[in-house]
Amino acid sequence: MSSVNNEREEILRMSGVDPTKCMKCGKCSGTCPAFDAMEYHPHQFVSMVNKGNIEPLKQSNAIWQCLSCFACMERCPRDVKPAKLIEAVRLTVIREQGMNHLESENVPCMLDPELPQQAIVSAFRKYSK
């Protein structure tokens, strides 16, 4: 139980988010452009992290589907910043050795002639350490 609590505290510290401010209006998930592609939605990240139920989020595909578009942050009436929480969960995964989601040797086959450098550096920042 204590390691679960430590992980919760670590994620709150990294993100700077206070999930207890959430009033469960669901606006973050309602406005999320990746909603259909996520098995856990922004409002669930807030409530599950708050309860210390973090492992399912770490195992989810949702952490890779967040677009970092900041719609949930902008439109939250309580300034909870769900995007920061999703980023913190993603970081707890990729900061572990061998847990990179994108490896450099897999990049060449993803390239097409028009793909901008910006896409590659952004993906590395999001998916790898």
């Binding site: 589907q65 578009c69 719609a71 028009e114 952004s122 920042r125």
Partner: protein, 260 residues
């Protein structure tokens, strides 16, 4: 008017047009853009975690270079502008990040967010002025129906970016009007194109980009303008159901100013 200029990695490679037309237009408007010496890539996305310090340093170096040159800092790419403005906000207002970043940097004088960061569009609106810009147009884009695509990074989070109203922006529409064209307002102009997720799940980027283009097309747009190379890529390559032309805003600026 002299400004420090940060082009960013993509403007030197896949988005040369965005850079070239920005420089030509600035010259025509009497603005000198001095490229920051030995600048480094901003990383493309803002590292959101409090304890991400090293990943913010390339931005701090850029911001400090502008400070040492005594200039405001101008960027054109939406992503670079986003990262630089948010890191600058951290350096000004977040003591935890400011202290640690300065510990790495070992500058003679610590950096504390002194540099003013401007997007090129802000330069046009707030320094040149759209009325003045209109007077300098030699080739008005009359009759062209142009949809401005803001995407995410220019506007959000509005508290830090401060560029415009995040839900009902007007800076790009006013820009289009100044060039003599007709702006097309459409619901998805500030929704996401899919961004970097095209590398992880291309079908998601296709859905998002098609929604944006479909929304612009439904409102009668003949062309879409953007400030972001990744939006450009997604709209062009992942907006598979539409073939609306997408161009950089600096290209139509250069065209209207007669320097294309």
């Amino acid at each position: 008017m002299v400004y420090s200029y940060y082009p960013g990695c993509t403007l030197k490679t896949k988005a040369k047009d965005l850079d070239m037309y920005a420089r030509k237009s600035a010259e025509a408007l009497g603005i000198t853009l001095e490229e920051i010496p030995e600048w480094q890539c901003c990383g493309g996305v803002y590292p959101q975690a409090q304890d991400e310090i090293a990943t913010k340093l390339s931005s701090v170096r850029t911001l400090n270079s502008a400070k040492e040159a005594g200039n405001d800092l101008v960027t054109v790419c939406s992503a670079c502008h986003h990262v630089l403005k948010r890191v600058n906000d951290d350096m000004a207002n977040n003591e935890y990040i400011r202290t640690r970043a300065n510990n790495y940097m070992e500058l003679e004088e610590p950096y504390a967010g002194e540099t003013k960061v401007l997007h090129y569009l802000e330069l046009l609106r707030d320094v040149v002025g759209f009325d003045e810009l209109k007077k300098k147009v030699v080739n008005p884009l009359k009759g062209k129906k142009i949809a401005a695509y803001y995407g995410c990074l220019l506007l959000r989070p509005s508290g830090v970016m401060g560029l415009d109203d995040p839900e009902d922006p007007s800076i790009m529409e006013d820009f289009i009007k100044a060039l003599g064209a007709t702006p097309v307002v459409y619901p998805f102009r500030n929704e996401c194109c899919g961004g970097y997720v095209t590398l992880q799940d291309q079908s998601l980027a296709q859905k998002k980009s098609n929604k944006v283009l479909g929304s612009a097309e439904a409102q009668g747009a003949e062309m879409v303008i953007t400030a972001c190379p990744l939006c450009m890529y997604n709209l062009k390559n992942n907006g598979t159901e539409h073939d609306l032309p997408v161009v950089y805003f600096t290209e139509i600026l250069a065209e209207a100013l007669g320097v294309k």
